[in-house]
Amino acid sequence: MNWVGRRLPRSEDPPLLRGEGRYVPDIAIGARAVRFLRSPVAAGRILALRPPAEMPPGCLFVTGADMAGVQPIKPGLRRFNYRAVEQPVLPTERVHFVGQAIAAMVAPSAALAEDLLETCELDIAAEDPVVGFDAALTPGAPLVHPIAPGNVAVEGELRPEGFAETLAAAAHVVEFAFRSGRQSAMPLEGRGGVAEYDRATGRIRLSASAQMPHQLRTGIAQLLGMPEADLQVIAPDVGGGFGQKIALLPEYPVLVWLARKHRGRFAWVEDRNENLIASAHSRDQRHALRAGFDAEGRLLALEADILADVGAFSVFPTTCAVEPLMALAEYPGPYKVPAYAVRARGVLTHTCPMAPYRGVSRPVITFGIERLMDRAAAVLGLAPDEIRRRNLHDAFPARSATGMVLDEASYIEALDEAMRILDVPAFRARQEAARAEGRYLGLGLSVFNERTGYGTPAFAARSMDVVPGYEVVDIAMLPSGEVEARIGSSPHGQGLRTTLSQIIADRLGLDPGAIRIIHGDTDRTPYGWGSFASRSLVIGGGACQVAADRLADKLRRGAARLLQCEPSEVALRDGQAVAGAASMPIAELARLAHQRSELLSDAIGFNLAETGQYDPGGTFSNACHAAIVEVEAETGHVRVERYLVVEDAGRIINPMIADGQVQGGVAQGIANALFEEVIYAPDGTPLTGTLADYTPPTCAEIPEIEIHHLETISEATITGAKGLGEGGSIGAPAAIVNAISDALSPFGVDVAEFPATPPRIRALIRGRAPRA
């Protein structure tokens, strides 16, 4: 019985659907409530900060001055002119963005804490804020941090010799400059934590809605100068993270500090307004591209100038370089780019800091290069699919312009499959007929690859002080025959308990119901990197496979002893250890291994425990997305009529879960393309602090998403699986906006900004008559 490849229902779901999940706010019940005083101005000097004259019993007011000795948050990066910006946990001198936490108020209830915050004395001498690229990069602009001249926090540049000549010699040079709007990852559950002092042990237990519990533990212990062993971090049920919950933001060290100092239990549950203005943002970028093509439409040279607004600080552990440098490294994507020149800068502004968000710059660079392909196709008179076909990598392994190894994939096959499913000639006929009625339909493509499951070697190349990558899994069979696998990954909605149990079940010949995956608790799991970067199924899953194979070897050795055969003759299947006609239940073997060890110990020792480690170099999944949209010319409204994904993520462990990942990603990508934008006033005030103003789409705006899988099994991973957590959001903005541009082609306009909102679309076509 093979479990891998089956649409096994998620074992995670029943309690969640019954409302029996256990999230931070469930754990917070009964704790003292913490609310934060947040800066009302984008930049300024703190002149006075005092609690209300009368503090009721049980209330505390904590400022940065109280927390003297706590280290500032200061992630490091050793290359690219990185300026090591420091963020005080609570500032005592200056504020740097609206929403920055300045002080904590503790009260028996959140409502009382908010009452008290209203009567705190906060006097800030406001200064001119730096908001937006133009303000930040103007010579002589105020500096967000003196350590970063010109407000550039990080700058990377690659320019191969002879690049200018190569570009100049191209038959066609196509340019495209565009901007992507700032976004919030908008997890359904915001951040939050409960820190509790244990009087018996003196330890602190922090339950936090986090993606990287071990890193949170290490990072907080370092900031507070406390023994790491005195801190336990638990990630309970986590209602989505999408990257936002990687970051060690100031609220968590404040909670741990409070619990240690005041020996109590303190809870902060972020509200939506805080999440939208003071949790991390992303994607605020401006790119200018120039590409040289030969007469047949083959790309000869690509030049990219990338600006990424990184906000006011650099988040731990990924640093503020994560977005600009991801764009720098991966712009060529699935295309053969013989000459690539790039400059990428991370620009500091007085706005909320940036963190990884599902896709990390790749939605933006995919938008850039896919819009560029469509523009070039128009210049060269080629069909959009044809120009892509001429430029996609078709021999593997290939090496990208920045030296990455592209493993076996199906770039052209995925495109061909999408074109076949779409029936493009039929669409073009429909498009033409609709135009005659004043209706504007468009078809957009987006072809991309997605680097996933990359381990230490890939991260080490980034030169961050904290290098993620490997995963370790401790697996043990209990005397009952059930298996516990303790993982360093930290799933928060990905269904990893189900998929990992499928992988382990196959290796041990057990039912997935006999496998328990233990995660999200630093006391009970090996050190690991949590879940992000489409890595956990590949790396955590690979480590599970290694660990399970070792355990299987041990079981075979033990069974061979009892069945009086060679270990190689023993097969584990359907809960039995089988050797020819002889067999025994694996559970019985487990019982004997523990309780009658005298029978087995010389073959297997005294336990049924093994450790697996895995640290792959990385693998690229790939996809072709296609969108059909209708643009209503008189209002600028865009309706997504059809959305197609042809995805290749190697071996699919659980197709239902894979499809769910793709659907959710595409929904966020459509949100990115059409709906969501964090907007700041020129004075640095965020204007999108509620869900009436920051507008994620609802199910009414998201079409059914049609998913087809290809399965290219590359050697890059031991399970054959590639990651696919981010692809949906990477591909969608380009597909949607290419479709809009195709729809509006009779108007002779071109969309160079997303989200492509109705007012923006109207502004493009206002006063223009469609060509007949």
Binding site: E114, T635, H637, A700, E701, P758, A763, R766
Partner: protein
């Protein structure tokens, strides 16, 4: 996002409610469905010291036809209008509008009268009240008064309601059999506050338009009548060209606000499109 402190009273009779409103005056707000009031309290944008919760006063939960009018009580929820509350074009129009108000869970709690009392500039019922010549019946401890819709709205979230008063009922005159209604709005997402909307009512008698009313919502501080466009239609045959001209006229004469969701120029374009659609719907009904 926790509200400031407030006292909660839940009287069982209208008289008790009015007595509480008389006692607490400006400090008090009526709580019906709470779908607008409670979020604004959570943001501390509204800070009533006293909430007079009318949900236990059963007689306020009515939608009745009496004396040539549709009378809508203070507890009539939006969802009630999703099915035809009165026969004919008026019930059809109200049902069409009701489906555009927020989302089903909100429609089960939020009330028609609550929308009018809250007076959100983008409220569908507010624009409808103006188009349908609604009269507001205001009760206070010592009496009653009526205010016409045109005098009711006094800016953003601001009405003619005086301290101590409660909007007990909204009265919509039942239109003539020749009357038709139309509604169109543009919102980014299903259930969102509209960036622009038009509610239209007119009579079609002998092929000519009479008594046309066009209310615009979502474009400024309060719903407004497109009087120039209404005048243009009067006594005319509703040709496609005339409707387009009326729509353009409404757009030209309105004064749309600019915000981060829509520049004024864009809202003006939407007004033209929404008026055109609402008028076409009305004349083709």
């Amino acid at each position: 996002m926790k509200p400031a402190r407030f006292a909660h009273h839940a009287p069982r009779t209208l008289e008790e409610a009015l007595a509480l409103l008389a006692t607490h005056g400006e400090e008090a707000r009526v709580l019906a469905g709470g779908q607008s009031l409670v979020p604004t309290m959570a943001f501390r944008m509204a800070r009533p010291a006293v909430l007079v919760d009318i949900n236990r006063i059963a007689p306020l939960d009515h939608v009745t036809v009496a004396g040539g009018s549709l009378r809508i009580g203070a507890l009539a929820r939006h969802a009630r209008f999703e099915t035809q509350v009165v026969e004919g074009a008026l019930g059809t129009l109200l049902a069409r509008i009701a489906h555009h108000i927020a989302h089903p869970p909100l429609r089960l709690r939020g009330t028609f009268c609550g929308s009018l009392a809250h007076a959100d500039p983008a409220s569908e019922w507010c624009a409808a009240a103006l188009a349908l010549e609604a009269r507001m019946v205001l009760a206070r401890a010592d009496g009653l008064r009526e205010v016409a819709a045109e005098d009711w709205f006094q800016g953003v979230f601001s009405t003619a309601l005086a301290p101590g008063e409660m909007l007990r009922e909204v009265v919509l005159p039942l239109p003539a059999p020749s009357w038709r209604g139309g509604f169109a709005e543009f919102a980014r997402r299903a259930g969102d506050f509209a960036l622009a909307m038009a509610v239209v009512g007119l009579r079609l008698e002998g092929g000519l338009v009479g008594g046309a009313r066009i209310a615009l919502g979502g474009i400024g501080g309060q719903p407004v009548l497109a009087r120039e466009a209404m005048a243009l239609l009067e006594g005319q045959a509703p040709s496609s060209a005339l409707l387009d001209e009326a729509a353009a006229t409404a757009a030209r004469h309105c004064d749309p606000q600019e915000d981060m969701h829509a520049p004024a120029e864009y809202r003006r374009e939407l007004v033209a499109v929404m008026v055109k659609r609402a008028l076409r719907q009305a004349v083709s009904a």
